[in-house]
Amino acid sequence: MAFLEVSDLRVSFPTEDGLVEAVRGVSYELGVGETLGVVGESGSGKSVTHLAMMGLLPETARVAAGRLAFEGEELLEMDEARRRAMRGKEIAMIFQDPMTSLNPFSTLGTQIAEMLRMHQGLRGKALVDGAVRALAEVGIPKPEIRIEQYPHEFSGGMRQRAMIAMMLAGHPKLLIADEPTTALDVTVQAQILELLRGLQEARGMSIILITHDLGVVAGQAHRVAVMYAGRIVEEAETRTLFARPSHPYTRGLLSSIPRLDRDEEQLVPIPGTPPDLLHLSGGCPFRPRCSFAEPACGESEPALREIGPGHRIACHVDLPALLKVEEAK
Amino acid sequence: MKPRSQEELERLLSEAAKVRGNSLWKDAMRRFKKNFAAKISLWFLVLLSLLSFFTPLLPFAPPARVRLSEQFQAPKLELIREGWSKAEYHDLGWLSSKMVDLRASLFGTKEIGPILGTDSKGRCLLSRILWGGRVSLLVGLVATLVSLLVGVSYGALSGYFGGWVDNLMMRIVDVLYSIPFIFLVIFLMTVLRENQDLLEQRFGLDRMMLFFAVIGLVYWLTMARVVRGQVLSLKHKEFVEAAEVMGASTWRILRQHLVPNVLSIVIVYLTLTIPRVMLFEAFLSFLGLGVQPPDVSWGILAAGGIDAINPIHVYWWFVLFPGLALGFTLVALNFLGDGLRDALDPKLKDR
């Protein structure tokens, strides 16, 4: 039994222009103490997938799955009470904007204390000490003073740490981090990522790290899943993915981003624009932008298939073989 | 990219001319059309306006004709009868007068009977509702227009200039806001009434127009605030900054960028102000401060309606029909305003 098992997750939204299928069959597994990097651009469905997991989508969203199990328990069959109990205690989520989780009208101390009281049953002096400790654990200096302050008195990086402290107060086993550092300066980003690594080691926590930044996953994740148009198109151990990217989209992404450590002669952009989820044609959604497309790609959407140990891609084309032939020429 | 020849550019240009983009207005119209209540309301108001405009042309009884022999008649289905005469109208404007003349030649002395009943002086209620509607709708329109012109200019300038200018202008608005409107209007109307003849001779303003203007001057304040707020937030948008970087003059920025983007909120606000103005007029006329007999407005009718309720005879038609007329109109305006607001909501389409 995997720690987190996702099988054929689907999410759709009715909009005034029609039904949008934001997530179209996502499946993966996550182990204890593992970090999974989920990479994608806007419209890939990477955030919606995990909001659905947490039950945080609006009422109008339709969520369905073959299986969505956390430690064996089916998430979609839970009632609201159980869901709420799980949130924070077992699964927690942090976001790009800490102000989505922080109440601007109460002090940090009050907010963290509320979490500690709810999830750890602390009271009185133990509660105050717990709050101070929680802030210290995320690297906020002078926590005794900070607990009396309001979120607006914190800088961006501090707020992010405060949100992490709050969300981790219940010692969750799984942390879903949705673009936690995208809005932060690069030096602060490095601090936060280091903090998350440290917390993971100390607590044996699993992390799902959602981002669009391939550099971030390279340094943080054990495994990476690349999403496009609501599905996973490639999944592998981090080293494998970067050494042998086998889906045209993954390759396209890697050749189009400039690197800090070397000069690129030419960036090779992926032509075209991200897909319109309202009007997906029958075949592979990446086809309009793919330089390796074959006739089969227009007919049916490829399913995930294994091409190596722990390495899956959703593609009709055998890219590695194709590239070997190119190289041989 | 290779340089293009003149001919090629011209060809592309002519193709471009065939393409019409979907402006935000078009999108808004599309959304509006999906709103059933708003559409019905719009039709209702259009029909009502047309009916009001052409009232002098239509074969109704004169609204101010007193016939004590027919007083307090309940509604009866007497569709056509004789007895109409052009002489029983007064104070008609040029256009109305021409329309009545035309009516005379079309329908002669025939008129539509008291199908909604008569009032305490025997005047036809149906006719009074229609003629009253003209006044009430006109008040709504003119007063709102005045508030629009004053409010938008004031608010836009205040918002764009910002700084101490904005502060000063808004403090003035605050002060004016704190004066209870009723006192202001009563004061102005009283003063104006005393000097009515003078104003009429000197400036050619009749009391009706004055009344409209006074109401408009009272209602511009909120419009100014709303526009100023919108301009303040627009001012810092990057597309305004881009225009500044290019060297656009203040005038150009106001005209090209600020006003069109404020327009949608102004339109919504307009349609929601009209009912308030109409109610205000009804209220004032009810108090005897607005429209004076023999002119009639829905407010006067409402006042008359109250007299109608006494324990002996309940002249229910006095209250019901004017009430329905005013009620439906206000509801329609509100639905229209809501529909416009939902349609024009400036949420960018895709992000």
Binding site: S155, V186, T187, S256 | L13, V19
Partner: protein, 319 residues
């Protein structure tokens, strides 16, 4: 003395914003030169003043002191906050947000025509032809001239923004984080477009960004800012391979690289603390409280930007 090539010279620029108890020193005395055809990258984290610098150059932020000077063979233009129309013809700006930088109520044609109208460069049919030409230049189908911004994607809107900036045929283009708001797969398209345009039109770019990988790719020279001052300025390879200032070093070490083996092997220099806000700039070197090489002198005196090697400028006592 007349110059042969046009240059944009910023001299001792200071931009202060009124505030209590002390004004905010967003830009605190910086100087640099942008030569025709070159790309200068201006990098730094939030609050460093890089955007404010660009805004001051085009007149969107007040110039408290110092000078912005444009020198070209015909004459020179100076401004201290209010650029003249002829300055604006030669120095234009591309904005960050492709959604907010275009007026949603104007067609693309109207957006592109506006600079031509303001500067009276073309009228009637010629104006429209020029707009058509501009669209082609940035890779857009000119048949969409009558469409509205919301009918285009983010990347296309940014192209429109670039076309608009090019309408006046400027020599200097200031780009304020022009690709940060775009999807990753689109960023490369726009970067390539910018390089192409630079080659074709001989433009000089002042490229403001926080993404150092992009800066490495695009820029010839780079200036690093911290709290309103330039702390290091050098040609690209010098800066990236031999960074002198401790802040630059920390900055470079914090940038993630899409290579897991490299990431693991890297020695991270994780800075403690955060940049102090521009409201409370400390005495001495602004970086002192976070600097691994700080000394007593750093806390008292403020280092000045000086040229160390050829073209490599540094403001530090300890290096």
């Amino acid at each position: 003395m007349k110059r042969n090539r046009p240059e944009l010279r910023i001299r001792d620029l200071q931009v202060f914003f009124p505030h209590k108890p002390r004004p905010i020193r967003a830009v605190d005395g910086i100087s640099f030169v942008l030569h025709q055809g070159e790309t200068l990258g201006l990098v730094g984290e939030s609050g460093c003043g890089k955007s404010t610098t660009a805004r001051a150059v085009v007149g969107l932020a007040p110039v408290t002191s110092g000078e912005v000077r444009l020198e070209h063979p015909e004459a020179f233009e100076t401004h201290r906050g209010k650029p003249s129309l002829s300055f604006r013809r030669r120095v234009q700006m591309v904005f960050q947000d492709p959604y907010a930088s275009l007026d949603p109520r104007n067609t693309v044609g109207q957006i592109l025509a506006e600079p031509l109208e303001i500067h009276r460069l073309a009228k009637g049919k010629n104006k429209l032809l020029r707009c058509t030409e501009l669209m082609l230049q940035v890779g857009l189908d000119p048949r969409f001239l009558n469409r509205y911004p919301h009918e285009f994607s983010g990347g296309q809107r940014q192209r429109i923004g670039i076309a608009r900036a090019l309408a006046l045929e400027p020599e200097f283009l200031l780009l304020d984080e022009p690709i940060s708001a775009l999807d990753v797969s689109i960023q490369a398209q726009i970067l390539n477009l910018l390089q192409e345009l630079q080659g074709e039109l001989g433009l000089a770019f002042l490229f403001i960004a926080h993404d150092l990988s992009v800066v490495r790719h695009l820029c010839d020279r780079v200036a690093v800012m911290y709290l309103g001052k330039i702390v290091e300025m050098a040609p690209k390879h010098e800066l990236f391979e031999r960074p002198g200032h401790p802040y630059t070093q920390a900055l470079l070490s914090a940038v993630p690289i899409p290579d897991p083996l490299l990431e693991e092997a890297r020695k991270r220099q994780v800075l403690q603390g955060e940049p102090p806000s521009p409201e409370r700039i400390p005495k001495g070197c602004a970086f002192a409280e976070r600097c691994p090489k700080v000394s007593e002198r750093c806390r008292i005196e403020t280092p000045v930007l000086e040229e160390r090697d050829s073209s490599h400028w540094l403001a530090c006592f300890e290096v």
